[in-house]
């Protein structure tokens, strides 16, 4: 952050929208800007009031190329916007490069996400090194509708302006670190020889043979797939991956979303199954197992139908395993179950747990 003495020395900030982008209806620009300010006012005592003429603290403009502030824009892509730190005159002012296409949806570039970041600067925040933070310098491919201000940004802004007067203090999501021994995964799947570990908004992409891992926003790879997914598996017979959230699932063809969302009932689940905990395809059996609380279902990929006699108790089909499985994947003849920060290497032939590991044993920590 800037030094506290360089932040706004008042809590009531005014802003003015000087002009509009032709990319969006005016009302959508206004609502995106309003929502971007709310991101910051929700976690601090700051208030933002729009003025229509005269002086204001934060002047908002859509401009192109050289716009006479010694920081010319560069045409489409590249730099999307910039803002000045708090202060009089140009201080706090926020400029959007109108050579970009701004949107209200998840197409690039969502105006709300860009504006929320820039207003962080206009309030005195620098860039963050936290990849999941709003103040990370690169545009995030993340679902704007489910946006929550990350904790890193909350800590930054509250260090300048203090906490919200709300009796329930807001908290935000933290960015997972692969070597955190307490990391718990939402789902794990293989994809064409690589491993994908889903954790809240992110996926950790790892080659099991070693090498670097990447932390990526889920929507960077699959724009229409939501965050916080429940389960995922790869079916090498069809070459497709399926990811699940709630009573819906999406079909992935590599890095394309080929179909979805579709209802769980399409797979033959009874209507009372509202979500599944984990899913895995076992290659040599041609079966996919779905884990729901203390039971599991078996799906025959050849017949494309649920096997009869299911669901069965997990404790019966997988002795040693307990209910509420977070994630599971199949690798080289073995199953790897995840529960909280613990991983169980399971041998289906001997029906025994062979090894108990940390959930992040694949991360090379």
């Amino acid at each position: 952050t800037v030094p506290k003495s360089s932040a706004w020395q008042k809590n009531d900030i005014t802003y003015k929208i000087v002009n509009f982008t032709p990319d969006m209806p005016r009302a959508d620009v206004e609502s995106s800007i309003k929502r971007a300010f709310k991101v910051w006012s929700d976690v601090t005592p700051l208030t933002f009031t729009r003025v229509y003429q005269g002086d204001c603290d934060i002047e908002i403009q859509f401009v192109t190329g050289d716009h006479k502030d010694n920081s010319p824009f560069d045409g489409p892509n590249g730099v999307l916007a910039h803002a000045f730190q708090p202060g009089p005159n140009i201080g706090g002012d926020t400029h959007f490069d109108d050579d970009e296409t701004f949107t209200k949806n998840s197409q690039q570039y969502n105006l709300f996400l860009v504006a929320a970041h820039e207003f962080g600067h206009a309030l005195g925040l620098h860039h963050s090194t936290d990849e999941g933070a709003l103040m990370y310098p690169n545009y995030p491919n993340t679902d704007p509708d489910s946006f929550r201000l990350p904790q890193d940004d909350i800590n930054g802004i509250q260090s300048l302006y203090g906490k919200s007067s709300n009796p329930i203090q807001p908290t935000g999501p933290s960015t997972p670190t692969k070597c955190d021994p307490n990391i718990a995964f939402d789902a794990v799947m293989t994809l064409r020889g690589e491993l994908f570990f889903f954790v809240n908004r992110f996926v950790l992409r790892i080659n099991p043979r070693g090498g670097e891992s990447d932390l990526i926003f889920i929507q960077t790879l699959w724009p229409s797939v939501p965050s916080d997914i429940d389960a995922a598996y790869e079916n090498p017979l069809t070459g497709e991956n399926l990811v699940f959230k709630g009573n819906k699932y999406w079909n992935l063809d590599g890095f394309d979303v080929s179909q979805g969302p579709r209802s769980l009932t399409k797979l033959g689940f009874p209507k009372n199954v509202k979500k599944i905990d984990a899913a895995v395809h076992v290659e040599n059996l041609g079966k996919t197992y779905f884990f729901v609380k203390n039971k599991y279902y078996s799906y025959d990929e050849d017949k494309q139908a649920m096997d009869e006699g299911f669901p069965k108790f997990i404790a019966k089909g997988f002795p040693g395993m307990t209910p509420d499985i977070d994630a599971v994947f199949y690798y080289r003849g073995l199953l790897y179950f995840f529960q909280d920060s613990v991983q169980y290497e399971y041998n289906m032939d001997s029906k025994r747990i062979q090894q108990v590991l940390r959930s992040n044993s694949w991360m090379g920590c």
Binding site: V2, S6, D69, N70, S71, F73, D74, N77, G78, V79, L80, A81, H82, A83, F84, Q85, G87, I90, G91, D97, Q108, Y109, V114, H117, E118, H121, H126, H127, T129, E131, P137, N138, Y139
Partner: protein, 84 residues
């Protein structure tokens, strides 16, 4: 097919990287120190600073991942450090 050499990558993206570091890492284009020691090269120093910030491998060289990161759309808040 011959593999593209590191040198090709560096010469291909040198200009882009120079502009990027000038804009976001305050790389000065004048007053370059004399000498061949890489530690004296402000371009390398700024490149290392950028690589460290983004959690990339700090090589001081324009490798593929660094170029990829530089090409990502981003915020251009270069004035925040200088404006008063």
């Amino acid at each position: 097919f011959p593999a593209a050499s590191q040198e090709d990558l560096e010469s291909k993206y040198a200009k882009m990287a120079q502009k990027y570091l000038e804009r976001f890492y305050d790389l000065k284009t004048t007053g370059r120190p004399v000498g061949r020691n890489k530690n004296n090269n402000p371009f390398v120093k700024k490149l290392e600073e950028m690589q460290e910030f983004f959690g990339l491998e700090v090589t001081g060289k324009l490798d593929e991942k660094t170029v990829e990161m530089m090409e990502k759309p981003r915020c251009g808040v270069q004035d925040i450090g200088e404006y008063n």
